[in-house]
C-alpha cells in the first residue's frame, strides 16, 4: 500500500496510537510502592508535627505564666505526671500491624508519632497539651487496630 498524501500519512500514524499492554503485570510493584509514603511527605508530616508541638508549647507556656501569678496549678501538674506514667505504660503497638498495606503505613506513622510524643513528654513533663496529643494518637491507633485485623 503506497501512501503519498498527507491524509493517508496522518491516518497511518494515528493507527499507532491506542493501548499496548505491558508484557508483565505491573500491579504488585505499584501496590508495594503505594504503601511507602514519599520522603517529601514524611518531611512535611514531621514539620507539621513540630509546628503543632511548638504552637502547643507556646500556648501552654502562656497559660502557665498567666496562672502562676495566682496559684501553682497543682491539679494540672499532677495530671501531667499521671499521664506521663500512663504514656510510659502505653508502649507502641508495633506488634499489631494491620494486614492492609495502606492501614499498615498509617499504623506505623501513628506508632512513630506516639514515640516522638513520649520523648517530648520526657523533656517537658509539665506540658499538658502533649498528654492530650498522646492520648489522641493512641486512641486513633487503637481504633485502627479494632477496624483492621493484624498480620
Amino acid at each position: 500500500m503506497n501512501i503519498d498524501n498527507e491524509f493517508a500519512w496522518r491516518n497511518e500514524l494515528r493507527k499507532l496510537g491506542g493501548a499496548a499492554e505491558p508484557q508483565r503485570d505491573l500491579w504488585p510493584q505499584i501496590a508495594a510502592r503505594m504503601a511507602v509514603r514519599p520522603a517529601t511527605q514524611r518531611w512535611r508530616m514531621g514539620l507539621g508535627l513540630a509546628a503543632t508541638l511548638a504552637l502547643g508549647f507556646g500556648v501552654a507556656t502562656l497559660a502557665w505564666r498567666t496562672q502562676s501569678a495566682n496559684t501553682i496549678p497543682i491539679a494540672v501538674t499532677a495530671t501531667a505526671h499521671g499521664a506521663t506514667s500512663m504514656a510510659a505504660d502505653n508502649a507502641p503497638l508495633a506488634w499489631a500491624v494491620p494486614a492492609n498495606p495502606a492501614l499498615a503505613t498509617a499504623s506505623r506513622e501513628l506508632d512513630g508519632a506516639s514515640v516522638q510524643l513520649q520523648q517530648a513528654l520526657e523533656q517537658q513533663p509539665q506540658a499538658v497539651f502533649l498528654v492530650g496529643l498522646l492520648n489522641r494518637t493512641n486512641a486513633q491507633r487503637m481504633r485502627l487496630l479494632r477496624q483492621a485485623p493484624s498480620v
Binding site: G17, A20, E21, W27
Partner: protein, 191 residues
C-alpha cells in the same frame, strides 16, 4: 456528588466507562486499594502504550515509567476534580512522566530551526510500511523529534500544548515535527 448517588447501587461493570471510573476514583480516594487496582487494570494498556511510543519502544523503561505514573496517580488522586474524564487525566499524567524522562536527554537542544529543516531533507515519497516497520522507524527518531511526532501525529496534541510540555517555542515544535516527518519518510524509503 450526584454521580455518586446515582452509581452507588449499580455494579461497576454495568456503568458507562466514565461513570465507572468516577465511582472507582471516589472509592480509591477513600483509601480502597482494590478500587485503584481496578483503575489500573482498566487503563494500564493506554497509559503504557503512550509511554512506550514516547520512549522509543524501550519496553523496560516504559514499564518502569508506567509504574511511576500509577504511583503518582495514587498520590495525586485527591486533587482530581472530576472536571475531565479520569482516563484523560491519567493519560496526561503518563505522558508528563515520559516527557520528564525525555527532558533529561537534551542533546539536541542546541540545534536551530535551519538545521532542523536541513535534517528533514526534501519531500521523499513515503511508502507505507507494515505497522512494525513504522513503529521501529518512529522509535529510531532522535528523542525530541520523536516526542513531538508522537504527541502531535499519534496522541493528537496541539503544537501549543507540545511547546508547553516540552518547554520549547511553538515554532520549534513545528520545525521538530517537520524534521521528524522528513526523517521518517527517508528511513522508510531506505528500507
Amino acid at each position: 456528588m450526584d454521580g455518586l448517588a446515582l452509581t452507588a447501587d449499580v455494579p461497576i461493570a454495568d456503568l458507562p466507562a466514565r461513570d465507572a471510573d468516577a465511582a472507582l476514583v471516589r472509592r480509591a480516594v477513600g483509601g480502597e486499594v482494590a478500587a485503584f487496582e481496578q483503575l489500573y487494570r482498566r487503563h494500564a494498556g493506554r497509559v503504557h502504550g503512550a509511554i512506550l511510543r514516547l520512549v522509543g519502544m524501550d519496553r523496560a523503561r516504559a514499564e518502569e515509567l508506567t509504574q511511576d505514573a500509577f504511583v503518582q496517580a495514587w498520590r495525586k488522586l485527591g486533587s482530581f476534580r472530576f472536571e475531565s474524564a479520569f482516563a484523560t487525566w491519567l493519560h496526561r499524567l503518563g505522558v508528563n512522566i515520559a516527557l520528564m524522562d525525555l527532558r533529561i536527554r537534551r542533546d539536541e537542544d542546541a540545534m536551530g530551526d535551519d538545521d532542523l529543516q536541513a535534517a528533514a531533507g526534501g519531500e521523499v515519497p513515503f511508502c507505507a510500511a507494515e505497522r512494525g516497520d513504522l513503529e521501529r522507524a518512529v522509535a529510531a527518531l532522535p528523542t525530541r523529534a520523536r516526542a513531538v511526532l508522537v504527541l502531535h501525529d499519534v496522541e493528537g496534541f496541539k503544537h501549543e500544548e507540545i511547546s508547553a510540555e516540552l518547554g520549547m517555542a511553538v515554532g520549534s515544535s513545528k520545525a521538530q515535527l517537520h524534521r521528524a516527518r522528513g526523517l521518517l519518510r527517508r528511513a522508510l524509503a531506505d528500507r
